[in-house]
């Protein structure tokens, strides 16, 4: 690899360009998407990579779990394809949970970029699809086979020609093929936009390869991370957190070992995997570990593979944070989203100025049925509770953390489904008390219009294990799901009849520091 160094000005200029290319890629995906999951809630990521699959830049918008695992995902394609297997016009695809972001509902599309017929890099994106067949989006499966269609690493387009067989299989296996395929094409188009911009950029800069630029970017970023780690006292810092789990409570244990300029995060002691779809593949565990540490160590610098270099993640095989095939994984975020809070707990005394108390975990409700015109629909809406209190500031009300998924406007949801939203309000008193209180949770009520019932799957955590306070702060209010005012077990899929009101209450964030302290 050419290790020529860039002067700081040229590097700044080029680096900014790569970030703006990735951001344009994400914006193109959102704008040309068909589903609310992409278009309104933006459950996606985009990034640009060098020829060795090293992530140089990611989009400014995006979900951390996706962003972290996209990098691992692109490298897995390079195990399957070498440069000579790829040609201009090829587009690669997979949704293998173990290769990218941990469940089949995320489709990864990777477009090789060619300059004068030579492979120079990749544009990649990862999006939550509205449906992938099998069960609807839920944690109810006993094996990954029940969770829908698995697309191995393969070519979606070969030299510009679409893989008609794969398109037909997809079309016949999913509930809303026009949304699924529309979103997929949005990914393909957006990657193509990014690929064209990369070629323009290289032509303009007279670059034959991105690898030296990539090396400069990632090594600077890694150096910054290492410097930040070196400033922390060596030691092993531990914490454990309990989760609702599915049938029985589960536990995530972390030991954060700081030694010199590296960090090793060991999840030893965490619960074994369970026969319900909440297990995390190691990629997803790594993504949230890296994300949390970056927030603490170098939040202001742009993210790329360099941020990951000084971080090692270890997790026991066949555990909830390192699931073994064929464990079910569709609701893996119900476990993975806890990881940052537990890491913050472990490091609370080491970097108290940066950590925050526990936050809510993203809740998802999926409804499937027939609309007012008797046409089938499937619709997922995400909803966040309060963020944890921070050192010096209250937690943010109803704000996504650690995910960064937006909500869907009431008016959009009601245009797309027969649902009538009865309320969307902050829950008074739901925030954990403390010197700095947590953010408030919210209450959303829905009712069906028309005469058809709907199948409902709720993926809601923290109904038992409420967000903890930190450094003396109080816990936030737990989550709840109510049917006509009565609490129900949110883990089981059920039928919602017209006229019934389903209410989701998202948790309040934990408080930071002792109240009055």
């Amino acid at each position: 690899m050419n290790r020529e160094s860039f002067d700081p000005i040229k590097l700044e200029v080029s680096w900014n360009r790569l970030i703006s290319i990735a951001s344009e890629q994400a914006a193109a995906m959102v704008n040309s998407s068909f589903s609310a999951v992409l278009g309104e809630m933006e459950d996606l990521s985009a990034g640009v990579f060098d020829s060795a699959g090293v992530m140089m830049a990611q989009s400014v918008q995006g979900a951390p779990g996706h962003l972290g695992s996209l990098s691992t995902g692109v490298k897995s394609f390079l195990e399957r394809y070498t440069a000579k297997d790829l040609a201009p016009g090829d587009v690669l695809i997979t949704n293998d949970p173990w290769l990218v972001s941990g469940h089949k509902h995320d489709i990864t599309v990777v477009t090789p970029v060619f300059l004068r017929k030579r492979l120079v890099g990749f544009a990649a994106s990862n999006c939550h699809t509205v449906d992938i067949g099998g069960r609807i989006f839920s944690a109810g499966a006993a094996e990954v086979y029940e969770e829908g269609l698995q697309i191995p690493r393969m070519k979606l387009f070969e030299a510009g020609v679409r893989n008609a067989t794969l398109f037909r299989i997809l079309e016949e296996n999913v509930r809303s093929p026009e949304l699924v395929l529309g979103d997929l094409m949005a990914q393909v188009s957006a990657n193509e936009t990014a690929a064209r911009r990369l070629v323009d950029f290289m032509t303009g800069q007279k670059l034959d390869s991105l690898d030296s630029l990539s090396h400069n970017i990632t090594s600077r970023t890694a150096r910054l991370m290492r410097e930040a780690i070196r400033r922390l006292p060596d030691g092993v810092y531990r914490d454990r957190g309990s989760l609702d789990g599915f049938d029985t409570p589960l536990e995530i244990c972390v030991a954060v070992g700081i030694k010199g300029d590296t960090i090793t995060v060991d999840f030893d002691g965490s619960s074994p995997q369970v026969p319900k779809g909440i297990n995390c593949v190691i990629n997803f565990t790594e993504a949230f570990t890296r994300y949390a540490l970056k927030c603490l160590l170098a939040p202001e610098s742009p993210n790329n593979d360099g941020s990951f270099a000084p971080i090692r993640v270890k997790a026991p095989e066949a555990s909830i944070v390192n699931a073994r095939h064929p464990a079910p994984v569709d609701g893996r975020h119900l476990v993975g989203l806890y990881i940052p809070g537990i890491l913050f707990g472990a490091l609370a005394d080491v970097v108290p100025q940066r950590v925050l108390a526990d936050s809510s975990v993203l809740s998802a409700v999926t409804l499937a049925g027939r609309d007012l015109r008797d046409k089938p629909y499937v619709f997922t809406f995400f909803s966040s509770g309060g963020m944890g209190g921070r050192n010096g500031k209250d937690g943010l009300d109803a704000t996504a953390f650690p995910s960064n998924v937006a909500n869907v406007p009431v008016e959009v949801m009601e245009q797309a489904t027969p649902v009538l939203v009865t309320r969307r309000e902050l829950i008074a008193g739901s925030a954990g008390a403390g010197r700095y209180r947590g953010g408030a949770g919210q209450r959303i009520g829905v009712r069906l219009r028309g005469k058809h019932p709907a199948t409902v799957s709720c993926m809601v955590e923290r109904t038992q294990a409420a967000p903890r306070g930190l450094l003396g702060g109080g816990a936030g209010r737990a989550a709840g799901v109510l049917l006509d005012g009565k609490r129900i077990d949110p883990k089981q899929a059920f039928q919602l009849e017209p006229g019934q009101e389903l209410v989701l209450e998202t948790p309040g964030g934990g408080g930071f520091g002792k109240e009055g302290g």
Binding site: P8, N31, G62, P64, G182, C295, E411, A416, R423, R424
Partner: protein, 704 residues
């Protein structure tokens, strides 16, 4: 009231630091400029002073002024500084927290200490009304008299000076909002009332509520300001009509602005875009990038076929300066421009990665750049420009303000060169390069997001710092031609004189092309035309002068984002279906590289733009001068350009001494009172017959 096109037309632009005036006598072609400090406490004071000043200096009597055109930062400042009225919000029952909950996502995923912009209305000032309209516009729960009475009682006890009403699905059926408006007006006459279906009849309750609230919040303030300003102008002896610039680049009557004050939020930057559009028309340049760089920010926008692009998505009062997503989202017609923290006063810094950063923080007017010698110690863009010889220490602001070169060099040495281990020269060049790249990047994203390649454009540069940096920005964008119009330092005030009196309206009516009720489409257009014509007539336009353009926001059924497609003709029926689909798909393919052949196409919003005449136009006939006049440099100065290892003597010209057809070679500087135009090595500048400076940039695409 038709405009007298005989007499002085005056444009007055209140900016963050300076209030600029540009006036032209349409009879003789004589012009005059004036700059005065803005008076933030009551901007009408500084504005009236500036007006008095320009008339006095030019020896013009107040009654010789034929029309006064105005742009102001009043509304955006009130939103940034939170100095609007005590406002209440009325919502559908169960939804008063929608403006807190917002969209739930964070604008920066790594910054755990970030804040979100607080709503303009506190929770204690929100009132819920029991009522419900469904997504199709049908009434699920009627709004009862009792409910209205309760809302009014609550409003009275809240002491609101302004009220916004935003009910769910009011864009489909505004009946409940209208009923509330009438009753509140009657019962609480001291408060101004605005309803969301009037301000923004579009889907998405959070953005619609935020926009309606922002409008209500600035309404009392804006009305008061306009009344005071108009009275002051009359007292001064001006008897002419007063018109105000809207964010969409059109001039409107004060009555409209009082009803929808939010629409003047970006009036100054919009006026700048109008200047570029006028230059585009004058030079018949179909593809222009407008580049307006002032003291604090730079604004760029795309001007195609002589018209700036107008969008409806906009954010105001960003709490993390210029960070996308950190402001209050507003939906209203606004010139599609991008504003970034890159101006002459932008501060230079070295970040944790050892990289050079410029802006977005600004030294503003106080203390100002180090070279102003007013206590500023940190280096700014202006300091680097001075160090590189692009600005003259003696010639800044026509020599009225001497710049301190030593202070500039010291600031660059200590705060930039030393931490980066560069020479001061390299540091100064670095600042020039980085700020140019920031602006070029913003311009590039702005263009490419809209499907345009920036390199095929002509750069029109103005604002005090625009002509200084246009050379560097053009190279980075691959632009081959720069135009610097006359009086670039008061470019926005000039734009006021060149703007049409116009209004953009929209109606939401959603349906696939196959399912639309075309009679309803026709009715929507007829109503909009009537409303727009009434507003234009208020602004002195007569019926024959009004021109209408129709556009529709279209997408493939169910897609997130619509694209705006121009429609031909004024009559709408089912026969138009095929042509509409084709226009949409052609444009879609340009942006996303493909079509979805079998997919239905949906229309969401129908737009009408009504346009009347401009106050004045740039001259369309060139000077008839023949031959190549002599150009002589006034003096020379040491300058440093990218790629040079050391300073070299370069000529300095005065713009006032250049004649049409004059030609000069770069490297060189052309100075004028409020700005300086840089021509780099290999560049060639000529003054055209209109007095524009035209620069040919060789070797564009240096940075692709």
């Amino acid at each position: 009231m038709p405009l007298k096109n005989t007499g002085w037309v005056v444009g007055l632009d209140i900016g963050g630091t300076f209030t600029d005036v540009m006036m032209v006598d349409t009879r003789s072609g004589r012009s005059a400029r004036y700059k005065a400090l803005t008076t933030p406490a009551d901007p009408s004071i500084g504005a009236l002073e500036a007006l008095e000043g320009v008339l006095r200096e030019a020896g013009v009597r107040p009654d010789e002024v034929a029309v006064l055109l105005h742009a102001t930062t009043l509304v955006s400042n009130a939103l940034i500084e939170r100095k609007g009225a005590r406002t209440s919000l009325v919502t559908t029952r169960g939804f008063k927290d929608v403006i807190d909950i917002a969209r739930e996502k964070k604008f920066d995923i790594y910054d755990l200490l970030l804040d979100k912009p607080a709503p303009l209305v506190g929770r204690d000032c929100r009132i819920e009304a029991p009522e419900r309209i469904a997504a199709d516009g049908s009434v699920l729960e009627p709004l009862t008299e009792k409910a209205v009475d309760a809302v009014i009682a609550a409003l009275k006890s809240s002491g609101a000076q302004a009220v916004a009403v935003c009910l769910l699905h009011s864009y489909m059926n505004p009946a409940h909002e209208r009923a509330l408006r009438e009753r509140i007006r009657a019962a609480v006459p001291e408060a101004s009332v605005c309803i969301s279906s009037d301000i923004l009849p579009e889907m998405r309750e959070f953005e619609r509520a935020t926009t309606a609230v922002a409008n209500a919040y600035v309404q009392p303030l804006t009305s008061g300001y306009i009344d005071r300003f108009a009275a002051g102008v009359r007292t001064m002896g001006l008897a002419c009509p007063l018109f105000i610039m809207l964010s969409e680049g059109a001039i409107a009557a004060p009555e409209l602005v009082k009803r929808m004050p939010i629409r003047i939020c970006e009036s100054g930057p919009a006026a700048g875009a109008v200047t570029s559009a006028a230059v585009a028309q004058q030079l018949r340049e179909p593809r222009i990038l407008s580049f307006d760089m002032g003291g604090t920010t730079a604004k760029t926008c795309v001007v195609h076929d002589g018209e700036p692009t107008v969008t409806t998505e906009f954010e105001v009062a960003r709490i993390y300066r210029f960070k996308k997503g950190s402001g209050l989202p507003l939906r209203m017609p606004v010139v599609d421009l991008i504003e970034i923290g890159a101006g002459g006063g932008s501060l230079v810094d070295v970040d944790g990665l050892g990289l050079l950063k410029v802006g977005p923080e600004s030294a503003a007017a106080d203390p100002g750049p180090a070279c102003y010698g007013r206590g500023g110690e940190r280096a700014t863009v202006t300091d680097a420009d001075l160090a590189l010889g692009y600005l003259g220490a003696e010639s800044f602001l026509g020599g009225r303000m001497r710049l301190d070169v030593e202070a500039a060099l010291k600031a660059l040495a200590e705060h930039v060169a030393k931490p980066l281990r560069l020479s001061v020269d390299q540091a100064a060049l670095g600042v020039y390069e980085v700020v140019n790249e920031n602006m070029a990047n913003a311009a590039r994203v702005q263009a490419v997001e809209r499907g345009h390649d920036p390199s095929g454009h002509v750069l029109v540069a103005f604002g005090g710092a625009g002509p200084v940096h246009a050379w560097g920005v053009a190279q980075k964008l691959g632009v081959e031609k720069i135009v610097v119009p006359p009086s670039p330092g008061v470019g926005s005030a000039f734009g006021l004189l060149l703007a049409p009196r116009a209004l953009n309206l929209a109606r939401t009516y959603i349906g696939t092309l196959e399912a639309l009720d075309w009679k309803r489409v026709q009715r929507a257009y007829d109503e909009m035309a009537e409303e727009a014509l009434a507003a234009l007539m208020q602004a002195g336009v007569n019926r024959r002068e009004a021109r209408f353009t129709r556009r529709a926001d279209m997408r493939y059924l169910g897609q997130r984002k619509e694209i705006t497609v121009e429609l031909s003709g004024a009559r709408f029926d089912a026969g138009r279906m095929k042509a509409l689909r084709e226009s949409f798909e052609r444009q879609y393919e340009k942006i996303y590289h493909r079509r979805h052949d079998a997919h239905p196409v949906e229309v969401l919003c129908w737009r009408l733009a009504a346009t009347g005449p401009r106050t004045m136009r740039l001259p369309s006939s060139k000077s008839k001068a023949q031959g190549t006049p002599k150009t002589r440099a006034r003096r020379s100065r040491l300058m440093l350009f990218p790629g040079w290892s050391k300073y070299r003597m370069c000529p300095v010209y005065s713009r006032y001494e250049l004649q049409p057809r004059a030609v000069l070679q770069g490297p060189a500087v052309v100075e004028e009172d409020e700005s300086a135009t840089i021509v780099g090595p290999g560049g060639r500048l000529n003054m055209d017959g209109f007095g524009n400076l035209i620069i040919a940039v060789p070797d564009g695409r240096r940075f692709g």
